[in-house]
């Protein structure tokens, strides 16, 4: 179900009424499971079975692992961990990467003159919505049980509620079991304060999505529909900046609605964004962008790849930023080498997680490259001595990084990036993109700087009740005008 729809608002109100009417905690958990499956089925009901299968299997595996640990038998818990990983990653690879693997395989065979096999995969595969998110959630659960981070949940429905909890089901934040399951055991009372805080958060989310992201999307779609050969360097930058803001408003808007919806019910979901474009370095960016994924990657990919042992999980906070900052401090060459390998491998995989295409992998490696560059050039000094310049440089790095992410192919990416390398392409008279789009990009940058730099002014102004009323009223007006279920959230496809 799309958040940006009347259907969701109707669904939420109905669900809240039923949820708070139920007095028994267990019944509330059963209800969350049922409502979440209904929520998912509004997209395609048959695909809810894949999610259920993944949940059942992981519950079984985690139970077996826990039992082996408790009884201290000779059986090895790794068998069940492997089953869980094999099935979950199998589902993810099967649904998401089959075409990609097949295309690359046939291209590889063509090198040896084997052209007889069909050029495209002969069967049609539909990518189940949110599969990348819920499989990561179930994988993290089984891994944490295996690592003995916490005990396995013995009640299947509490586990199912954790996997399927609808506010975060299709696009995160990717939760850890110990962050949410204990909250299911609390009997939350309906509180007006929660309604207001959650409602306000949802309003901000709706505004970001239906007013800002969807409006910017029209310009972005138009610019990317122009042949990249004809774009000037400035056009490419405008395209990159506009898409950077579109994807931020789109995804942060989704997260706001998720966090707000859960808050009204009394649940706290961790933050997923924290002013990512106001970061002074790529490392800091990864502390503030898609924090839950970044933290997941840190705990289950980067730390093992860099040869470290996870001592304490920070859950979905902190992202990748902190750990990569400390990694280069080691004097040992081998450790440094392994850290660099882990860095590039992690971002390569994270890129592919976002989409089955080399352009996504390139996006990941691009970020790894800049993190590595900041590491070896000691970017910390640059950040502390020239904070404003560092912010500007990092903003540009992040925005240019979105080009492979949005471009249709590696070919288009290379064309667009090469435009930026030729000084002659910066001629302002060569532009193909309209002045309105240039103005929009400039407006967004200025608005971001103002809202970030003068937060203290806003905090004072927002204390003025009439001003708050004016701002909220205008936001409600815009959301009501622009609300329509036509535009999907970008992150749904991941």
């Amino acid at each position: 179900m799309l958040f940006n729809s009347w259907t969701y608002l109707f669904f939420l109100i109905t669900s809240l009424l039923v949820f708070f009417t139920l007095k028994n905690i267990n019944w509330r958990v059963y209800f969350i499971c049922i409502a979440s499956v209904i929520f998912y089925s509004f997209w395609r009901w048959e695909y809810a079975s894949i999610m259920m299968f993944s949940a059942v299997l992981d519950f079984f595996c985690s139970q077996r692992i826990q039992k082996i640990r408790d009884n201290k038998t000779n059986r090895k818990p790794i068998t069940f961990l492997m089953i869980s990983l094999f099935v979950n990653l199998g589902l993810l690879i099967g649904f998401k990467y089959t075409y990609f693997l097949y295309d690359n395989f046939t291209a590889f065979l063509e090198i040896f003159g084997l052209n007889n096999i069909p050029q495209s995969f002969p069967y049609s595969i539909v990518l189940p919505m949110g599969i990348s998110f819920y499989t990561f959630q179930t994988i993290s659960y089984t891994l944490d049980i295996y690592r003995n981070v916490y005990r396995a949940e013995s009640n299947f429905f509490y586990f199912l509620a954790y996997v399927t909890f609808w506010p975060q089901l299709v696009a995160g934040p990717i939760l850890r079991a110990d962050e949410i399951i204990f909250q299911f055991r609390v009997k939350h009372q309906f509180k007006i304060d929660n309604l207001l805080i959650g409602g306000r958060r949802m309003l901000f989310g709706f505004f970001k999505k239906v007013v800002l992201a969807d409006t910017i999307a029209k310009s972005v779609d138009h610019i990317y529909s122009i042949n990249p050969n004809s774009l000037s360097a400035l056009d490419v930058l405008v395209a990159a900046v506009l898409f950077g803001f579109q994807i931020y408003f789109d995804f942060a808007g989704y997260s706001d609605i998720a966090i707000g919806s859960a808050r009204i019910m009394g649940f706290n979901i961790p933050e997923n964004f924290n002013w990512p474009y106001a970061s002074k370095s790529p490392r800091e960016f990864w502390k503030n962008w898609h924090i839950s994924l970044s933290s997941w990657i840190r705990d289950y990919l980067y730390i093992p790849l860099s040869g470290q042992k996870l001592k304490i999980s920070h859950g979905t906070s902190g992202g990748l930023g902190e750990i990569i900052e400390n990694d280069h401090l080691s004097d040992q060459k081998t450790k440094k080498g392994r850290a660099a390998f882990a860095l590039f491998a992690t971002w390569f995989i994270m890129g592919l997680w976002h989409g089955a295409g080399w352009n996504f992998a390139l996006w990941g490696v691009y970020h790894a490259f800049f993190i590595f560059l900041y590491r070896i050039l000691d970017g910390n000094k640059f950040e502390s001595n020239f904070p404003s310049l560092a912010l500007g440089v990092n903003f540009l790095i992040c925005m240019i990084g979105w080009i492979p992410f949005r471009a249709g192919s590696i070919n288009e990416t290379i064309i667009m990036l090469s435009k930026l390398c030729n000084p002659l392409n910066y001629n302002p008279f060569l532009h193909q993109v309209s002045f309105i789009d240039y103005g929009l990009a400039a407006f967004l940058i200025i608005a971001m700087i103002i809202t970030y730099k003068v937060t203290f002014v806003w905090s004072r102004l927002s204390a003025l009740q009439p001003l708050r009323i004016v701002v909220y009223s205008i936001m409600i007006f815009f959301v009501l005008v622009f609300l329509q279920a036509n535009d999907q959230f970008i992150y749904f496809q991941f």
């Binding site: 075409y99 529909s225 409600i476 279920a485």
Partner: protein
């Protein structure tokens, strides 16, 4: 008092929403050329005009085949172009499109020519070449091809998704295999979109959303004018620029030599194809308002461009090139109450001028009379 801010905001927000919907209930900027009335008019011409939706293509092809079958002596003229052909500004009841006026006039002149139109918004020459190949695959050989030449359309080479669906027809991909357009077409196709989510068609979400919207439209005053308010808000930046400069701008045509050359090549291929199939091409420079206030292209580039087109046309004896850039008076272009000017589409009277002109030239060609413009 603690909850006053939220409650007041909600009430004021709702009031603003309904007041705006009421205020803009008659606002319909899309009636500039491609509004609801125009669209429904075009829909009624099914079988003669194909516009915008690929689904209409079949009905036009069937109509052509029917005419060919029933009246084998009839000559066939196909008019391929962009939205200028199917958009009517300030649409009034009984208004007609250029193609319809043309057909009327041809009948008055006792001509044997039957006219059909393929048009899509922003159609570029490469897409027109794909349309041509669609006719070829369907074994339809027109006697005349009417080709409007638009300065703007030669600055794009993208093939829209809608047309890419034609790639599903093996004959079409085969038919363009040796042309310049093939590189672009197949390159585009290799950008695989498989594995993405299925379209939301026929999901519970769609059905419930449709139901809830219609429920609110029926029961909540002014809710149904929500789209007008949205259109107004979206038009504001354009209107503001227009107000400030009193000049419309369309900077997306500053151009790239390479793109223009590819399109020129595509045009040459269309002409060669027409020649080898004994098709006469009537190529015309599209009408465009000439006043400074309306004219936003670089005049020099504009002039150079049409000089090149004229040269291409003069190289082939099956091409008849006419300049129609000034035939539509300023008053017949779209200008709405807000002063928003539409430089691409004209009113029905403009369609009549264009339609009659084309009909006259076609008739002259049919009678082998030398034409002069």
């Amino acid at each position: 008092m603690k909850y006053f801010t939220s409650l007041a905001s909600l009430i004021i927000g709702l009031l603003l929403f309904f007041t705006a919907n009421w205020a803009f209930k008659d606002f319909n900027p899309s009636e500039l050329g491609l509004g609801l009335n125009t669209t429904s008019h075009v829909a009624k011409t099914k079988g003669i005009v194909k516009s915008a939706r690929i689904g209409d293509l079949d009905s036009v092809l069937l109509s052509i085949k029917k005419v060919q079958r029933n009246s084998p002596k009839h000559q066939l003229a196909v008019w391929i172009g962009n939205s200028q052909l199917h958009a009517i500004n300030q649409y009034k009841h009984n208004d007609l499109l250029a193609v319809q006026y043309s057909q009327q006039m041809l009948e008055e002149l006792n001509s044997n020519i039957s006219l059909f139109q393929f048009s899509s918004p922003h159609l570029n020459i490469i897409e027109e070449q794909i349309y041509m190949n669609t006719l070829r695959v369907e074994s339809i050989k027109p006697d005349y091809l009417i080709l409007p030449i638009t300065f703007r359309s030669f600055h794009f080479i993208k093939i829209r998704e809608e047309l890419k669906k034609l790639a599903g027809y093996k004959e079409i991909t085969k038919s363009i295999a040796n042309s310049r357009v093939a590189d672009l077409f197949f390159l585009e196709e290799s950008n695989d979109k498989r594995g993405k989510l299925l379209s939301k068609d026929s999901t519970w979400q769609d059905r419930s959303e449709e139901y809830l919207n219609s429920l609110m439209e029926r029961n909540i005053p002014f809710y149904k004018y929500k789209d007008n308010t949205k259109s107004y808000i979206k038009f504001l930046p354009t209107l503001a620029i227009h107000e400030m400069t009193d000049k419309s701008r369309d900077p997306q045509v500053s151009g790239n030599r390479e793109i223009i050359e590819i399109n020129m090549l595509s045009l040459t291929e269309i002409i060669q194809f027409a020649k080898s199939n004994n098709i006469e091409i009537l190529m015309y420079q599209v009408p465009h308002p000439q006043d400074d206030q309306y004219f936003f292209y670089n005049r020099e580039a504009y002039k150079d461009f049409f000089t090149s087109i004229e040269k291409i046309a003069s190289r082939s004896d099956n091409v008849h090139y006419i300049k129609l850039e000034s035939i539509i008076p300023n008053r017949l272009w779209g200008i709405n109450n807000d002063g928003f000017k539409d430089m691409y589409h004209f009113q029905s009277e403009g369609h009549k001028i264009l339609g009659d002109t084309i009909a006259q030239v076609l008739h002259d060609l049919e009678k082998n009379v030398a034409y002069a413009f």
